[in-house]
């Protein structure tokens, strides 16, 4: 690591993170005393049922929510507002329908007042990476759901962020598109060695993509297990049929079957 980068650029660290939502019908404890660490270049997945607070955790990392207590640090600095060095993708493509595909991809540069010519050149590169260079001038609703999600991924990568926050980005897609995008994400991740905080409720997706899977328990959300996946990279669709893969899935599934404690 060079002297210029702060201690562990792209790392994410949560310490004693709790969050209580106040609603009309009383307080809801979304997170309780969550500790987690994502190292530089590490792909970490938060796996859990819906309502376990994994999206809340991601929103805190994105600077969209402030924790009730505890601290979230990215690259060693406490998160107080959305940071310019992260990329984010959501379950929905969340594209602006009145902007072209390219204009959507360069939005993260526009909001920071960066050089737009350079941003557009970079945006075209990323669209090419996603196989969408021909659609730069189209509007989002002229694209299929899978293509829109790819545009969202290109937008996430625009600022060349050190840390990616991904909230169930493939869950609204059909199985075939999902597999293709999983492979693409792995390819991009292996090429650029970014840190990733990935959220899903799909066990197979978690095992396929991750270095580590953090299993979350529901309400209040806590980390129930920190499970390392040691499958060799790059993983292919064949990986999913190997005993080690199946075994890892079976192990993780234990958390979600049987009588609830």
């Amino acid at each position: 690591m060079t002297a210029g980068t702060s201690a562990g650029a792209g790392t994410l660290q949560a310490q004693g993170l709790s969050l209580v939502y106040r609603t009309r019908r009383g307080a809801i404890e979304a997170l309780r005393e969550v500790d987690l660490h994502i190292g530089a270049g590490e792909f970490v997945t938060l796996l859990g049922p819906s309502g376990c607070g994994k999206s809340t955790l991601l929103k805190i990392a994105a600077g969209l929510l402030a924790p009730t207590s505890g601290e979230m640090r990215i690259g060693g600095e406490p998160v107080r507002e959305p940071r310019p060095d992260i990329g984010i993708a959501f379950q929905k493509p969340t594209l602006l329908p009145w902007k072209t595909v390219l204009a959507n991809v360069v939005m993260p540069a526009e909001t920071l007042g960066q050089d737009m010519d350079r941003a557009r050149a970079r945006g075209r590169e990323l669209l090419a990476l996603m196989g969408l260079e021909a659609f730069a001038g189209n509007y989002p609703n002229e694209l299929s759901g899978g293509m829109q999600q790819r545009v969202g991924l290109a937008r996430m990568l625009l600022r060349d962020p050190r840390l990616l926050l991904m909230d169930e980005p493939f869950s609204a897609l059909d199985a075939l598109t999902r597999e293709t995008l999983m492979l693409e994400l792995q390819r991009v991740w292996m090429r650029d060695q970014k840190s990733v905080m990935f959220i899903t409720h799909s066990i197979a997706e978690a095992v396929f993509l991750s270095d580590r899977v953090l299993v979350m328990s529901a309400r209040p959300g806590r980390i129930a297990e920190d499970y390392r996946i040691d499958l060799p990279r790059p993983r292919t669709l064949d990986t999913m049929t190997q005993p080690a893969f199946v075994q890892a899935c079976a192990h993780l599934r234990q958390h979600f079957v049987g009588p609830t404690p």
Binding site: K59, A62, G63, L64, E81, P82, R83, P84, I86, I88, F90, K92, T94, L96, P97, W98, K99, M107, P108, E110, T111, L112, Y139, N141, R155, L165
Partner: protein, 261 residues
């Protein structure tokens, strides 16, 4: 071309109604002061255009309608946007405006005439009042109902408050804003005519009122026909603009049209 062909069907209906009207007047021997022959209405129109009186009335009505519509719409958009963005402003102003909205503005016509005189200013004021509220309410509703995920996505990429307003909320509300503009244009014409009927020096509403005194029913019909043409032209113009500007919601623009009709 297809749209032009579609016009043939209502044109046939209109021709049948006019023919039935013409022969009913002849067969039933209707006196002119109850129901004039459509040909008499046509002659009144031609005569009015030839001696220039109709042009003056049309100009007066158009001016009052368009000036009032423009002022009312600008006020409604500005105040609506301000109210949607500022909770403080909302607390002070919204209840008052709701109270005003509940009163039929037409009932204020005599008062406005007393205050602003019998000239064109009183008609403009009446139109401003009458077309303000639909657009005002639609602007607020439109801005408030922007997809919160879209807002979060842009915020996570460091979008400023101004960026969110200009590039996210305002375009997202455009469909509702145009629906308000469409209601506004038909209400604006009603406002002008009511003002002119109550008291005026010119205008198509004034022409209807003064022709009634003289039992000149042909001229009354001529003025009504002209108002219909102005009304149709106005709503069509706004609808066209709607489809052009809010191109990403083309289907929705069509739907507001049918609910208006």
């Amino acid at each position: 071309m297809k749209r032009l062909l579609d016009l043939i069907y209502p044109a046939i209906t209109l021709a049948v109604v006019l023919a039935a009207w013409h022969y009913a007047v002849i067969l039933l021997d209707m006196p002119d002061y109850v129901l004039p022959d459509p040909l008499a209405v046509w002659r009144a129109l031609v005569a009015g255009f030839q001696d220039g009186t109709l042009w003056r009335h049309i100009g007066y009505t158009l001016y009052a309608t368009l000036a009032g519509y423009a002022i009312g719409s600008v006020l409604a958009l500005g105040l609506g946007a301000l109210l949607a963005e500022s909770r403080t402003f909302e607390k002070f102003v919204y209840p008052v405006l709701v109270a005003i909205q509940a009163t039929p503005k037409v009932a204020l016509a005599p008062l406005i005439l007393v205050w602003f005189g019998f000239g064109i200013a009183s008609k403009v004021v009446l139109v401003v009042l009458i077309c303000f509220f639909p657009l005002f309410v639609n602007t607020i509703v439109g801005i408030r109902r922007v997809d919160p995920d879209l807002i979060d996505a842009c915020k996570a990429f460091s979008a400023s408050r101004w960026y969110l307003f200009r590039h996210v909320k305002l375009p997202a509300a455009a469909g509702d804003i145009f629906a308000g503009l469409q209601i506004g244009i038909s209400l604006a014409l009603i406002g002008t005519v009511v003002g002119e009927l109550v008291s005026s020096e010119a205008g198509l509403g004034y022409l209807i009122g003064s022709s009634a005194v003289n039992m000149n029913v042909s001229t009354m019909f001529a003025a009504v026909a002209l108002l219909a043409v102005i009304g149709i032209a106005g709503t069509e113009a706004v609808r066209l603009l709607h489809r052009r500007v809010v191109f990403w919601e083309a289907e929705r623009a069509e739907r507001t049209r049918t609910t208006q009709a």
